[in-house]
Every structure is written in structure tokens, then in C-alpha cells.
């Protein structure tokens, strides 16, 4: 798609030139075959989507996803990352909670909430995202919190222990155009979370079932990309100039939105329209040049 050519570059503007996104994706034990296969498929798809955003990805599935290998992979993530980098960890599978301890089910000994908390504490990036798409994952929401880290869990607490559908809809969010609510051609973590939450709610409503999972997101509103819907292309000098101007206009729009309540509504929309028309012309020029 021609229009996509320049549109996605802004998503990386703002990060230091050396910043990298490093992602670990793990699928745990499925128990039944259908779950095992589903978890692996979701993990592989999430890994593919992460690669599409330019992230460096480590994928652990099946027999490779043991407590030790997860510990080592997180440790490696910690060693190679800088504080400017972005660290992302996805856990898909079953989790349990006995009232005190959360366990992520893997072959052999299960990592606990304490293990995960301790291992993740060694990560240096100031921006982190941890997605735990397992039953009982709400039990991790508090223990894993720290400054700069967004934690997304499939359930509100450890007591929601039924197998979750969160992972299926998270996967859908990584592919759905309607998940991209800011229309920047990519899906950020918060966008994916909101899409998934709404889909989970509809899932239970449509079947007339009592909802057995209530997803939650803790920590900063995260724009960390989890999927790119349109491919990234390298811009030329003119496109970079236009994109920079577009960025300025977007900042101006954000500022204007902040002043909306204090402004006369007609004046607000007049100014908004002015800015958007310039943005539209830039967009057209970018499209024509791609």
C-alpha cells in the first residue's frame, strides 16, 4: 500500500537512535493438546508481530520453555539492554494461584510470582511491557509493578482460574485494523489491551455466560508497539522533512486538545481544522511521493 510508506516512520521517531525493542515470548504447558497447540500458535504469532515492529525476539515454546530457560532468557534480556531500550515479555499458557503463590505452568518446576518479580527486576530499560495471558494472572498485577513498566493480565485477580480466552483475542488485536484506534498503522500495547478487553467482554455476553475473566492493565499507558499493520519503509530527505513537520502539527493538535475545555468550541474546531488541513496536505504529498 503506497500510503503506508511514510506513515509508519513516526512511530520510531522519539526513540534514541540506538534504542532497541527486545522481546521475550513464552508459551507454557497446555495440558490438553488443544490448549498446547493454541498456546504455541499464539506465541509464534505474537513473536512474528513483534519482529514486524523491528523488535529482537526470543521465543520459548514447548519443552524449551522451562523455568531455567525463562530465567536465563530474562537474564540475557537484562544483560544486553540499556535503559534507553524497550523490554517486552509475553507469557501465554495456564497459570495457577493457591491464595499465596502464582505459578506459570511449564515443563518441570513452575516459575512463581516471586521468581518472575526477581528476574524482571534485573531489566534495565525504562520502558517495559509485561503481558501475562494466563488464568489467575491477575495475581501478578501488583507484584510485577514498577516505575515505567506496564503490566497487562488476563484476569483481575488470582481467583479467576478458568482457562482464559484473552490470548485468542490478543492475537486478533495484533491483526485487526480496528485495534489501531489512532490510525498510525501500528497497534500499541494499550490499543491491543482495549481491543482485547472489549472482545473478551463480548465473548461472554454473546454466549450468555458469566464472565470468568476480567483483563486489567496496570502502570503507564503504553504505546510500545506489539504489531505493525503496515510495513515500514525508509524515507528520503524530503519525506523526513515532511514527517518532521507532521510531527510538529501533531504536537500542536495534542496541545490544542489539552486546551479544549478552556476554549470556545467553535474557535477550538476552527483551529483544529486549520491544523488538520495542513496535516492532510502533508499526507497527500507524502503519499504522492512514495
Amino acid at each position: 500500500m503506497r500510503h503506508a510508506a511514510w506513515f509508519c516512520l513516526l512511530s520510531v521517531i522519539g526513540l534514541p537512535a540506538s534504542a532497541a525493542t527486545r522481546t521475550l515470548v513464552v508459551s507454557g504447558l497446555g495440558g490438553e493438546t488443544k490448549y498446547a497447540e493454541a498456546f504455541v500458535a499464539i506465541a509464534e504469532s505474537a513473536a512474528r508481530s513483534a519482529r514486524g515492529t523491528g523488535a529482537e525476539v526470543t521465543l520459548l515454546t514447548g519443552a524449551d520453555a522451562t523455568r531455567e530457560s525463562i530465567r536465563d532468557a530474562v537474564g540475557e534480556l537484562g544483560r544486553v539492554s540499556t535503559k534507553e531500550d524497550v523490554a517486552v515479555v509475553h507469557l501465554f499458557g495456564h497459570g495457577t494461584y493457591d491464595g499465596e503463590t502464582y505459578r506459570f505452568n511449564v515443563p518441570g518446576p513452575d516459575p512463581t510470582d516471586e521468581d518472575l518479580s526477581e528476574w524482571l527486576a534485573a531489566l534495565r530499560p525504562e520502558r517495559q511491557l509485561v503481558v501475562v495471558a494466563t488464568s489467575a494472572s491477575g495475581a501478578l498485577a501488583e507484584p510485577l509493578q514498577r516505575a515505567g513498566r506496564t503490566v497487562i493480565a488476563a484476569t483481575k485477580s488470582g481467583t479467576e482460574q478458568s482457562a482464559v480466552v484473552f490470548g485468542d483475542y490478543w492475537l486478533e488485536a495484533l491483526r485487526a485494523v480496528s485495534a489501531d484506534t489512532n490510525k498510525d498503522g501500528a497497534v500499541g500495547a494499550a490499543e491491543a489491551f482495549r481491543f482485547t478487553s472489549a472482545a473478551v467482554e463480548r465473548h461472554f455476553e454473546a454466549r450468555g455466560l458469566m464472565a470468568t475473566e476480567h483483563p486489567r492493565m496496570e502502570g503507564p499507558e503504553s504505546a510500545i508497539l506489539v504489531s505493525r499493520l503496515e510495513p515500514e519503509r525508509l524515507p528520503d530527505a524530503n519525506a523526513r522533512r515532511l514527517a518532521a513537520r507532521r510531527s510538529e502539527i501533531e504536537d500542536a493538535i495534542a496541545g490544542l486538545r489539552g486546551e479544549k475545555d478552556a476554549m470556545e468550541i467553535e474557535a477550538y474546531f476552527a483551529r483544529l481544522q486549520e491544523l488538520l488541513l495542513e496535516l492532510a496536505l502533508i499526507e497527500r504529498e507524502l503519499s504522492d511521493g512514495s
Binding site: H3, F7, L10, S178, A179, T181, N182, K183, D184, G185, R194, F195, A198, I249, E250, I253, R257, F269, L272, Q273, L276, L277, L279, A280, L281, E283, R284, S287
Partner: protein, 733 residues
């Protein structure tokens, strides 16, 4: 049924107990009750005196008389323990439960008494009263059995008199009440006077001399007005009922049952603030009335509702649903009032008030105390209360738009006759309009009705009101709706729609059913019954419900076994036996499934199109039909099906958006705007996209200012939204 006992506040009881003296030495509870009709204070003193009686049964009566129902309940329990073989105590205890609005518990105690003494008269009367309170036709039989052994028993006579008044047989009621009005028992006399006053009001003899006589005997006997109001309520004359209940609480401000009834009926005439006041007053005095508690709860929830008043419609909807429903409701009201106005020669001038409740319990409290109300909706003059589509969906058999159409027909018939139309005719016209002019037009007569007709179990037209008001079997109300609808349909087909208008006009002039039929059709009711029976025989005589069910079962079995040809044949035969049946076990979707499985998509689409044309509205089935038609590149045929789908599932954002998309393709921009705005009101996940679609629809309709505003809304959320940016440039030229 008026229950006029007045519980005292607990503080009054404590004071009473502290100073109780045996003022009325040797009194029995009946003496104290008797005093209550003329001197409330003396009655209270009398009951207080009885608190010192050693018998727990007497103490229980005294506590009950003083309004301490919890204490009375404990005392009755002790009395039953002390005399477990005495049916009398159980009956008295049962009456306490009746006072406390716990009819099921009362009935249980009456039955326990009957187990001890199968012929216990008061127990039988208690059972009859409970049945009558539920508008259960068995009340009459029980009361008659009492009279066979005790010919002048006032309780049984009152049950029968009430039953007679309920179906408008005023002469019979007067005859029944004649002995009681001369009774030595003031309670019986006053009850008889109240019922006679109600009889006068039902016949338009106002003011009734019986009202004055009752007040002369007992100046604070507000129950006389409460009784009159009851019969206004069940004949749907709510303004008149309210006026009577206002008199009742004026005469006796502590008549909490009248405050309760007044509150509930003020809601039916759209006076919510006054209703709240009287319901609160009732609750203060009698916290045991669950109808009052539930209604107050419903009123508490109204702060989450929008009240929209525009051009002939007052709409009360939950704020989460207003945006999605208002457009459809407005269109349905306008269409219904004009369509039926033309058919029946009566235009409703007053604004129609429509309340849509997302919680069924909130709707249910609005219908309390009314006989034969279906679970779909209720009309109180110009006020319609019903479940919103979120309370129950089409999968539960709730076609809300057809239900609203049905209720709007009631508005027309009630309005045209100043509420004098008979119950069966009003229901019949409403059902007919659902079938003939409504949004779904399903004429799917239930198999149970066909069986009842074939077995000769239908009611003569002159007794059809009783099918709603005093059903003799649990299924009678449902049968009566269909019978009334078919009867009106038959009348229209035979004599023309003008005949229905003439019948309506006759009711407006105060005719009863026999008179209205004679005037409207120039026919005796018996002749109509005969002709209608013959018509039903012609129409349904060949329909074999058992064979239909067997074929449907066979088709389902073949489908399960993936025997597509056999499934198609069996389902096809079922469809031939009864093509109009589009209920849950309709044959058409089975035909479609079998044909689709054979890869014969054309035949499958034809089957589902038949299902849709005959009023089938299961969303999953319609969705499939839309997909098939679209896949076959037949968008023009898919569009009306998608319209039906969005109408039956108006709160499903995807259906509204999809309809909007189809309407855009068809260039029907104004309708697309309505759909897209409803989609946005349902808070879709992607709001920028929702605004963008609205903007496109406005652009198509050449309404550029609105288009510009919505594209700005979209871009305000998502400034990089390329399609919206392009649309903005297009709008700005």
C-alpha cells in the same frame, strides 16, 4: 384487592405495651376489629388489652391488629405449636400472611388447615381469595363449593362478586352482594358497600350512593375508594383509579395499601414525582409490601435514564441505550400511529410516552396487580412500559419492535374508546396489527393453539375476556392472545377493516361485547363464534402438529448424521405442512442447512428467504442469509434482511454498522446516518472510525457542516487517519 389494615409504627407499640390495661375486659379480637370501623383509638386500646390474654393465638391476633406483624408471626408460630391439630389457628395465621402480601405463604397455611379439616370453610375462602388475587379462574369454583355448604358466607360471596365485576357482569355482582349489605357484621357490610359502589362506577352511575353510606357508617373508611379504584385499574382506566385512590388516602391517610396503589398507578399516568411521594409514604407505614419496595428500587434507578421529549413522543430510556434506540422508536411510533390511525379512523393526538427498561424486573413492577399481562409490554392509556431489547433478546423470543407495535395498537384502541374497549378486542387488534402492518409481520400461530382449536378448547367471544382476566388453565392467556388476533383477522378479511372500526366505535359508546359485535358486524356473537370455528377448521384443519414435529425431528436427526438429502426432504415436508411456522423449531432453517451442505446455495437462500419473509427473525439465521446473498452478489436483496437484523438486534454495534455500510452502497445516506450514529452511541471500540463513517454518510447526503464536524471528531482522536484526512480535503474542496 383492598387490604385496609394499618400497621402502627414500632414506637406506638412500645408505648401501648407499657401502659396496656384491660380496657375491654372479656373482648375477643373480632370486637376490636369491629371497633376499628368507627373508633380507631378504641380499637387500638382493645387490641392492647388482648396482649395480656394467656392464649398465644389471641395475642397473635392482637399483635396483628396493632400492626406488629413480626410479633404476630412469632405468636402464631407458638400458637400452632401449642395446638398443632387446630386448623383455625393456621387459617388465622394465613390471613396475617395475606395482610403482609405473602400470598404463597398464606396459601400454604390454608392448605395445611385443609389437611387437618378438609371442609374448613374459612380455609377454603382463604384459598379462593388467594386464587382471585392472582386472577386465577379457579377462585370461582372454590367459592361456589363454599356456598354449597354455607349459602350466605360473606367471604365466598365477595370472591364471586369480585369475579363477576372483573368480567363486567355487574348484575350478577349486585345480586350476590344483596345479603351482605344487610349483615350484622360491619366489616361485611362495608365490603359489600364498597363493591356495590364499584359496580355503580363500572356502569357510570357516579357518584354512587354506596360511597356516602359507607362513609356515614365509617367516616375514615378509605377502602371504599380503594375498592372502586381496583376495578378502574383492571379495566385500564388509570386516571379514574388515581382520582379514587387520592380520595382514599384523603379519607384515611394511614391507608398504606392505597398509598401503594396510588403510587403505582400514578406511574401509569406518567406522574413520577407524585408516585414517588406516595410509594415512600406507603413504605414508611408498611415495609412488607414487596411491590412497593421493587417499585421504589426501580424509581431509584431512573437517574440513569434519559427523558427525551420531542414531537409527539416522550421517551424514557437508559442512557446507554438512548442513542441506539431513539431513532427506531421514533420511526415506529410515527409509522404505527399513522398506519393504524388510517385503518381505524382514529388519530392519537396526545404525546405517547414510552419507557424501555433494560432490567425486566423494572418493567415487571409496572404491571403489578394487572390481570393477563403478557411478559412483553404493557400499555397504560398513552403510556407504554416494556422491556428494552437488552432485557431479553430475539433469541428468547422477544421481538421488541413487534412488541412495541402491539402496544402502540393498544394506545390507538384505548384512546379511541376512552379505555372502554374490551380486553379481548384490544388484544385482538394489537395482535392483528403485529401480523398485518407490524415490522416483522410474523403470522406464526403456535402449534399449541392449533391443537386447542382442533380439540374445541377455544372460548366463545363473549367469554374471551375471561381468557385474559380469569384463565382456567395456565396456557389460557397465551391461547387467548392468538384467538383474539385470529378473530380480528377473520373479521377484517370477511367484513373489511371498517367493521373493526365500527366495533371499536360501539365500545366507545359503552356497548358490551355482544352489542359491539352486533353493531359492527350485524351479527349475533353466537353466529360469529360458529363462523369463526368453521374458518379455523378450513385454515388449520389440515395442519397436523404431531406430523410437523415428527418431520422436524427427523430432519434434525438426518442433519446430525450428515444425511443431507434425507434432511432436506424431511424438512421440506415439514415446511409444506406448516410453512408459516417460524418459531424456534421452524422447518426453513433446516431446509437451508441441508441444501447448503449439499452445496446448493441457491436453494438454501430461497429457504431462508421464505423464513425471513414469513417473519422469522432469529439473528444467526438472518446473518447467514445476508452473507449468502452478499456472496451471491445480490446486495439489493441482502439490504432488507440486514434491516430486519439491525431492528431485532438494535444494540449490537456491528449490525448497525453493517447496515450503515449497506445503505451507503445503496446511496441511502439519511438512513445510513441513523445507523452510523446508533453505532457510535453504542460506544464501539474504534470511535475514530465510527465518526468517519458518519462523516461519509453526511457527505453523501450533502450535509457538509455535519460531515465536517464528524471528520474533525475522527481526526481529533486519530490525527493520522488517512482516509479521514482525505475526506476533510474533499469536504473543503
Amino acid at each position: 384487592m383492598a387490604r385496609s389494615r394499618r400497621p402502627l409504627p414500632p414506637s406506638a407499640l412500645l408505648v401501648g405495651l407499657a401502659v396496656a390495661t384491660v380496657v375491654h375486659a372479656g373482648a375477643i379480637p373480632e370486637d376490636c376489629a369491629r371497633l376499628g370501623y368507627t373508633d380507631g383509638d378504641a380499637s387500638t386500646e382493645c387490641y392492647r388489652g388482648l396482649l395480656l390474654d394467656p392464649s398465644p393465638a389471641v395475642q397473635a391476633e392482637a399483635l396483628s391488629g396493632l400492626g406488629d406483624w413480626q410479633g404476630a408471626n412469632r405468636a402464631f408460630r407458638a400458637a400452632v405449636s401449642a395446638a398443632p391439630r387446630d386448623p383455625e389457628v393456621r387459617v388465622r395465621w394465613g390471613r396475617l400472611y395475606l395482610e403482609a402480601h405473602q400470598d404463597a405463604d398464606a396459601e400454604e397455611l390454608f392448605h395445611e388447615a385443609l389437611e387437618l379439616d378438609g371442609g374448613h370453610i374459612e380455609a377454603l375462602v382463604g384459598v379462593a381469595e388467594v386464587a382471585a388475587g392472582r386472577f386465577d379462574g379457579r377462585a370461582r369454583a372454590i367459592a361456589n363449593s363454599v356456598l354449597a355448604r354455607a349459602p350466605d358466607h360473606p367471604g365466598a360471596l365477595f370472591v364471586l362478586a369480585r369475579e363477576a365485576l372483573t368480567v363486567g357482569d355487574v348484575a350478577a355482582a349486585r345480586e350476590l352482594l344483596r345479603p351482605a349489605v344487610e349483615s350484622d357484621d360491619p366489616g361485611a357490610r362495608l365490603e359489600a358497600m364498597a363493591l356495590l359502589a364499584a359496580a355503580d362506577h363500572l356502569q357510570g352511575q357516579i357518584p354512587s350512593p354506596w360511597t356516602e353510606r359507607a362513609l356515614n357508617e365509617s367516616p375514615h373508611h378509605g377502602a371504599v375508594f380503594e375498592t372502586i379504584a381496583h376495578f378502574y385499574v383492571i379495566t385500564r382506566r388509570y386516571e379514574e383509579a388515581v382520582a379514587m385512590l387520592e380520595r382514599a388516602v384523603e379519607v384515611d391517610p394511614r391507608l398504606y395499601s392505597a398509598h401503594a396503589a396510588l403510587g403505582i398507578n400514578l406511574l401509569r399516568v406518567n406522574r413520577f414525582d407524585d408516585a414517588q411521594r406516595h410509594l415512600a409514604r406507603s413504605f414508611e407505614g408498611d415495609p412488607y409490601d414487596h411491590e412497593v419496595v421493587n417499585t421504589l428500587r426501580m424509581l431509584d434507578s431512573l437517574h440513569r435514564f434519559d427523558l427525551t421529549e420531542k414531537a409527539g413522543l416522550v421517551l424514557r430510556t437508559h442512557r446507554d441505550e438512548t442513542g441506539a434506540l431513539e431513532g427506531y422508536v421514533r420511526r415506529l411510533v410515527i409509522d404505527a400511529i399513522s398506519t393504524m390511525g388510517a385503518r381505524y379512523g382514529h388519530v392519537v393526538e396526545e404525546p405517547v410516552v414510552i419507557e424501555l427498561y433494560p432490567h425486566h424486573d423494572d418493567f415487571a413492577v409496572r404491571t403489578s396487580g394487572l390481570p393477563g399481562i403478557g411478559i412483553l409490554g404493557a400499555t397504560f392509556g398513552d403510556v407504554i412500559a416494556m422491556d428494552s431489547p437488552s432485557a431479553r433478546g430475539i433469541d428468547d423470543g422477544f421481538d421488541w419492535a413487534s412488541a412495541l407495535w402491539h402496544e402502540l395498537a393498544h394506545v390507538v384502541t384505548l384512546n379511541a374508546t376512552d379505555n372502554l374497549v374490551s380486553r379481548w378486542f384490544s388484544e385482538g387488534v394489537s395482535v392483528l396489527e403485529e401480523w398485518r402492518t407490524g415490522p416483522s409481520r410474523s403470522r406464526s400461530v403456535p402449534l399449541e393453539f392449533i391443537e386447542a382449536a382442533q380439540a374445541g378448547r377455544l372460548l366463545p367471544v363473549e367469554e374471551l375476556d375471561g381468557g385474559f382476566m380469569q384463565p382456567d388453565t395456565p396456557g389460557r392467556v397465551a391461547l387467548s392472545y392468538v384467538q383474539a388476533g385470529l378473530l380480528c383477522e377473520y373479521m377484517e378479511d370477511t367484513w373489511g377493516v371498517a367493521a373493526l372500526g365500527r366495533v371499536l366505535a360501539a365500545y366507545a359508546d359503552g356497548e358490551d361485547t355482544a352489542g359491539a359485535i352486533r353493531r359492527g358486524l350485524d351479527l349475533a356473537p353466537e353466529a360469529l363464534d360458529e363462523a369463526f370455528e368453521s374458518h379455523l377448521d378450513t385454515r388449520f384443519g389440515d395442519v397436523d402438529p404431531d406430523r410437523f414435529r415428527a418431520k422436524v425431528r427427523a430432519a434434525s436427526g438426518h442433519l446430525k448424521a450428515e444425511e443431507w438429502v434425507a434432511a432436506s426432504e424431511a424438512a421440506g415436508e415439514a415446511a409444506t405442512i406448516y410453512p408459516d411456522y417460524v418459531g424456534p423449531a421452524s422447518a426453513w432453517p433446516l431446509v437451508a442447512e441441508a441444501e447448503a451442505s449439499r452445496g446448493r446455495m441457491g436453494e438454501a437462500s430461497v429457504a431462508l428467504t421464505e423464513y425471513w419473509r414469513r417473519g422469522g427473525r432469529a439473528p444467526g439465521t438472518l446473518r447467514r442469509l445476508v452473507e449468502w446473498l452478499r456472496s451471491a452478489d445480490r446486495p439489493a436483496e441482502a439490504l432488507p434482511v440486514q434491516r430486519s437484523l439491525a431492528l431485532v438486534a438494535p444494540l449490537v454495534p456491528e449490525e448497525r454498522r453493517r447496515l450503515g455500510d449497506f445503505l451507503m452502497e445503496a446511496g441511502q445516506y439519511e438512513d445510513a446516518i441513523l445507523e452510523y450514529e446508533a453505532h457510535l452511541a453504542l460506544r464501539p471500540h474504534d470511535r475514530a472510525d465510527a465518526h468517519y463513517r458518519i462523516a461519509r454518510a453526511y457527505r453523501g447526503a450533502d450535509r457538509l457542516a455535519a460531515a465536517r464536524r464528524h471528520v474533525l471528531y475522527a481526526l481529533e482522536i486519530a490525527p493520522r487517519f488517512r482516509a479521514a484526512l482525505a475526506l476533510l480535503l474533499e469536504i473543503e474542496g
